[in-house]
């Protein structure tokens, strides 16, 4: 590979492909969020399952900026599907941090990519932020789900859960990365894809 740090068409196409896989899977999983107890659990399930495609994506990442763009696109997608503006901001910030971490391992270190994916997952917290900073406003927009849903969700999402969710996203991201690595070893290396 040429030692060229500029993003080329091929890299950008790769980002698009993996972003599409990521978004489709995320949407399927997030449908579970209607069940109140599953709502905070999404920060556990989504990072673990999506660790698989993301670890495959990390094997393609060789240049700075790819993870940032990926996270930004995921943020834009979340915004368009009605999660507000926070995910975009979180996407840019945590994508950039994840990129820095992966760069410090020169995009080849296994440990750094696990840590980096954990950071990447924190962007999911952007979806929950309105629940904490504007509680009344958030629940007033969810009236159509019924009072029972609101009460249950309100009981689960106490203010103290905010740091728990962030840590959960981070830790489960790393777990998902480990799972992804294991599956990668089991299937994709053998098939010659990585």
């Amino acid at each position: 590979m040429k030692n060229n740090q500029k993003l080329k068409g091929k890299d950008l196409i790769n980002i698009g492909i993996y972003a599409a896989i990521y978004c489709v899977l995320m949407t399927c999983i997030s449908m579970l969020g209607y069940i109140p107890i599953m709502m905070p659990m999404l920060t556990v399930i989504v990072p673990i399952i999506l660790g698989v495609p993301m670890m495959l994506f990390y094997t393609k990442v060789k240049k700075f900026g790819m993870i940032t763009i990926m996270a930004t696109i995921v943020g834009i997608y979340l915004c368009v599907t009605g999660m507000g503006f926070w995910p975009i901001l979180f996407g840019v910030v945590f994508g950039f941090l994840a990129d820095l971490i992966a760069k410090s391992g020169s995009y080849a270190s296994g440990k750094k990519s696990i840590l980096s994916y954990g950071t990447f997952c924190v962007l999911l917290f952007g979806n929950y932020l309105p629940l904490y900073i504007d509680r009344e406003g958030y629940f007033s927009t969810r009236q159509s789900f019924g009072a029972e849903y609101i009460n249950t969700l309100g009981n689960i999402m106490q203010p103290w859960t905010a740091p728990v969710l962030i840590i959960a996203a981070f830790v489960c991201g790393m777990l998902g990365a480990l799972l992804g690595k294991a599956l990668l070893k089991k299937h994709f290396v053998k098939a010659g894809i990585v």
Binding site: G9, L12, G16, I17, A20, I21, G65, T81, T141, F188
Partner: protein, 243 residues
Amino acid sequence: MARGILQASIQNRGLVLDPRTKLVMLFDIALFVLGSAGGGSVEPLVPILCAMPAVLMLSAKKWKGAATYLLVYLLSWLTYTQLVPLTKGAVNFILLGCSGMLSRFLPGIAMGGYLVSTTTVSEFTAVMLRLHLSEKIIIPLSVMFRFFPTVMDEAASINAAMRMRGIYMGGKNVGKMLEYRLVPLMTCCVKIGEELSAAALTRGLGGEAKRTNICKIGFHIQDYLLFVVCLIPYAVWIMGRVL
């Protein structure tokens, strides 16, 4: 099947809208129907927004899509408004869940489907260029745009294949679901993606020169009309705040 249902065809597509109009409309629906922004004062307008995907699909000659959407939406809406108040307990919770969620998510999904199925990738790229976005965002987004139908298609095929082997929710091998679905999906998508990127590179994507685009995009009278429809909820929202 030669062509997926979500892939855009240029021939015979009825009323043509500028992709920017469709994007604004999608954003409107995401904000007001899915996100319920604006609260009570905008609420009466929500049915109008919900009807828009059906109207647009009709204008694009997608009879089947429009009919399905209308039917499912009306059913869930009727359940939500008529049937739910009559029930109690667990039945109420489940019905409320299904119908409330369907009537909230369907318009967004239908609008997204309309956007993807009536816009070609070239048009989409042309619009993004017109909006002066960086190429670093445009290329991934347009690839993603092109790739959504493929991923869904592949997922549906894998779903069918795995169902035959008893790997589905409620089947014998639920535990294997994750691995046995994700891995083939990823393998397919990676292969298709490699071919796609080779095809795109031969067409000069990612080259040094500035790319040109022959798609004619621009606003027509139908776009202005839709823009007015899109702006009404905002106006009502702001009025509600001020008064």
